[in-house]
Symmetry: C2
Subunit: 219 residues, 2 copies
């Protein structure tokens, strides 16, 4: 795990990561969360975009040898293809489910059999979408040397899922680092830290507790 | 319109474009077609991928001034972000329909109001998906200086659609150029040329005629 504070700071500055303890976001899963991450806004900032790829190009040395890059569709495609361009490696992308029409590919582009593949992801939350992509690549059959993502929430569930899948993963920065930077910048109040720590410890319980508190408030 | 024969040749060599007059493909629309294009396979060939972006970086001079690149999701994202990287410009991508969950963005990343946007597409068939993206960008409101795509089938329907949308478009290569190269390489027989020309003239009529010929053959 890399704890890049410069990137954490840029995520906050651009609004790629937003923290709203008092006004939680609703995630795709329906869960309420005090934090939301949309790294795609980084794409609109050429210097930050380049900084992310610079970091990735350094970090890849921590993985075993690979000869192919795969991006997790859709959000992992831009960073994936930019890194592939930097490293002059073949690129393909992996859908979480096949298209409804056409050739029904899970993998778009071509990954040869027995390739050694680094999977690029935008964000690791529970790790599910990354590990679906890992599974698709392994079925080719090719070898996955690991997953590299821009940001992670640092959830125990993800750690467990990657461990079970026997898949190394690295993120450029993460939730605790963003929190530290947000505190330093006084973007969050000290009393929020306990709340955010509770969320990070068990996001589902946090969400349920938040929702039930809202219900009782409205009664 | 650019008629790049080197790229046409690479499309055929890599199997990005396939021509099977005697065994037509079924497109997403259900139409039968003697030609199929999947430019994503180019992503697995670093030199060809770079060649495509080199060509794009030259061709962009034929558009009016722009300050932002938008890729049409999903296939237009890789070329779009690579071109944005080359030109050091902001990048975003445009979905043809909003995601089912989350922030319901048609545009992922950020395009500022009154930006001057070049839209990058993988393939122009009828022009519909490109022009949906153009419309989404115009609604920001931002200006679209045009659409740049890797390949087009050169269909009259696309020409008409872009004309009606008052939107310039350029492709790096196209169906007639690929046909010429395929003939030179003896990948297709001379008697296929008439069939392919008929298809290009009216793909829907060609598909209907093909399907009815199959029905009568099976009777």
């Amino acid at each position: 795990m890399i704890n890049n504070q410069i990137l954490a700071s840029k995520l906050l500055e651009t609004g790629a990561v937003r923290i709203q303890p008092d006004n939680p976001f609703t995630w795709a899963s329906g869960l309420r969360s005090p934090i939301y991450c949309d790294n795609r806004v980084l794409l609109s900032h050429p210097e930050i975009r380049t900084y992310v790829i610079d970091l990735m190009a350094k970090v890849v040395k921590d993985f075993e040898f690979f000869d192919t890059i795969a991006g997790v569709a859709t959000a992992g495609i831009p960073a994936g293809v930019l890194l592939a361009d930097r490293l002059k490696l073949p690129f393909a992308y992996v859908r979480s489910k096949p298209k409804e029409h056409g050739r029904q590919n899970l993998i778009e582009g071509h990954i040869r059999e027995h390739a050694k593949v680094l999977v690029i992801e935008d964000l690791i939350s529970t790790g599910m979408s990354s590990l679906q992509a890992v599974e698709a690549v392994r079925k080719i059959p090719s070898e996955v040397v690991g997953v590299l993502a821009i940001f992670q929430y640092d959830l125990a569930k993800a750690k467990q899922a990657f461990k079970e899948a026997i898949c190394p993963y690295i993120t450029l920065t993460n939730f605790p680092t963003v929190l530290k930077v947000a505190m330093d910048k006084k973007l969050i109040e000290p009393h929020h830290m306990e709340l955010l720590s509770q969320w990070s410890h068990d996001p589902i319980a946090w969400s349920e507790q938040y929702l039930s508190s809202q219900t009782s408030m409205s009664q």
